[in-house]
Assembly symmetry: C2
Homo-oligomer: 348 residues x 2
DNA sequence: CTGTTAGCGCGTTCAG
DNA sequence: CTGAACGCGCTAACAG
């Protein structure tokens, strides 16, 4: 249909000519770090640029300078509120520093994560932020770390979100502690017979939350038998099916803890569909405090993580632009976590 | 703390030397389009690249070729399920074509949208996809279009999502028709006294849905008085407050239509918090069919849009890789929309 | 089929 | 403070 002439964008050269100055002067007026250019010239260049609709070619600039303005963010699933909230934080913080963020999704597939990291290196991003739930599979783990190490060796910076990934920078989420506190709070509310919809065993975040929860229960002398731990997908449907399996097992439980909110939402729906009133018949709790859990019925008890802040922190951590107050130690202080009791876990 | 040597990444030159061939040969073996290189050499190059951990510098490649592998996606709010679902589709389709997508958020601010487009042009993206709800403000609209036009003049491609933005490619969402059908369906269910939580008047999508809904009601001889139309933010809280205002007005309504699901979720919560059982006292309907509306109580009646497909289509439309069957006409066929009746609107 | 050379658009020396 | 020349890493003509 439409095959326009497609003239190429105005180049710095064009601007220089239009303004009647040299390339160097034009460059200095538009992007120069050391500001030492006659105001007259400067104006003429700016106007010429304006007139020609010139925009700095970031790629060429990157090639010349040897450094990019790109941030690469890896998430398991961008449609998952957990990740999209983190992404929002990353993008927000990045735009403050005039950084562009590119997002890639890994789908929780270790091989794909590795491939993606490799592909992304081609962009020579300033920083790479890995928010995808990492697995504990040794094989890929080793390759991933080596890939990331050489990325750092060549001037990149990587930041992980969630569990410690020394020697890489990490925004630590206190998965274990948060889950422990939740367990304690629930025990104090009078719950005694727990089950956990735990997500895949290889996902570290899931594992940590499960362990923390179990520890918390132990503090109250409550044990969590293995048959009360159901592994399933880290998704809403995973939670739904997990709850179905739990019910089918005939176990008598008074509280179901899903290791993340998305799953917990599935649990609530599964209970309801099975004719059990969530919060009355069986309590339900999740983890993350994604926005929607306030709006389901009953509102979900959960462990709050300030997701957007986490994203922001990850970027700042990586770019070294920590404008938080006391980062004296340099050690990664975990993001504070907060237990939020809502209607899904009334006192028993 | 850690100040590593930071040697720069291996270059094609390094690889060529390591393999004992020329730059050109190395280039051809690694990225060449026409595959005319001795298999022996090819292997040696590949191995050398492997050994050195070489990755093509996409920027340099872009500068040399004069074309990028970048897709720029503009959304109003990436944490909003509507946009994150679309983003998922875009990213998915993009990765199939080995395209990298960078996401920028505009926050529904026309000025910021314009600035962002300008900034993004620096990346020389192959395509730019605008999914943010565009406003009808003439001033910025003109500038935006002119900016986009010159982007296309210089070889870029732009695709809009939602309302027609000729002469730019558009993935049309049938906002008006979907809303009309919904209205008809609701009227047939026995509802008579409607109110609409309409979002900001300047947002075109909101406006279209409002109008379509009103038309649908008119077909059944039902009118929608102005005082039953409440404008508020296009967010969950906007919906919540809109519902509060509605209740405060004392209007007697039996159904509230929020022009998007996120707002409708807020409406449901507001009703409940006001002691009104959503779906029993007052019916509620939304638009979009975001994932979570299945899980709130009662499940929300809405108009389904296949959000991920929309994202995919947008990319394909822009890259010209339509692998859909019949795009004979070339005219933008709207994405089909479907009315989904759920528990929030029982028959009256 | 391979190697040489000249750009791509820009930043940055280095003289003037 | 300005301009000319070179280099960034890579591709694309051009010869050999």
């Amino acid at each position: 249909m439409s095959a326009p002439a497609s003239k190429s964008p105005a180049t710095l050269h064009d601007v220089a000519r239009e303004a009647g100055v040299s390339l160097a002067t034009a460059s200095r007026s538009l992007n120069g770090s050391a500001r030492k250019v006659n105001e007259d010239y400067r104006q003429r260049v700016l106007e010429a640029a304006q007139r020609l609709g010139y925009t700095t070619n970031l790629f060429a600039q990157a090639v010349a300078k040897g450094s990019t303005t790109t941030v690469a963010l890896l998430v398991a699933d961008i449609a998952d509120p957990y990740f999209s909230s983190i992404a929002a934080g990353v993008i927000d913080a990045a735009s403050e520093e005039r950084l562009v963020v590119t997002i890639a999704v890994t789908g929780r597939d270790a091989q794909r994560e590795l491939d993606t990291v490799r592909a992304l290196r081609g962009q020579r991003p300033r920083v790479m932020i890995l928010a995808g739930s990492r697995t504990t599979g040794a094989a890929f783990e080793v390759q991933l770390r080596s890939e990331l190490s050489s990325f750092e060796d060549t001037g990149g910076k990587v930041a992980f979100i969630s569990q410690d990934a020394a020697p890489f920078a990490t925004v630590l989420l206190d998965n274990r502690g948060g889950a422990r506190n939740l367990a304690v709070a629930l025990a104090e509310l009078g719950y005694r017979d727990f089950a956990v919809i735990a997500g895949p065993a290889e996902i570290r975040t899931a594992q940590e939350r499960l362990e923390g929860f179990s520890e918390g229960l132990a503090e109250h002398g409550i044990s969590l038998p293995a048959e009360r731990i159901i592994h399933s997908d880290f998704t809403r449907d995973g939670g739904y099916r997990g709850a179905q399996d739990l019910l089918a097992s005939g176990a008598r439980v008074d509280l179901v803890f899903a290791v993340n909110d998305v799953m917990a939402v599935g649990v609530v729906s599964a209970l309801r569909d099975a004719g059990i009133a969530p919060g009355e018949g069986i309590g339900v709790a999740g983890f993350d405090d994604i926005p929607t859990v306030r709006d389901i019925t009953p509102a979900l008890t959960t462990v709050r993580i300030p997701l957007e802040d986490v994203g922001r922190r990850a970027l700042q951590l990586a770019t070294g632009s920590a404008h938080g107050a006391s980062d004296a130690g340099g050690g990664p202080e975990p993001i504070p976590t907060e237990t939020i009791i809502r209607g899904s876990t009334p006192r028993r």
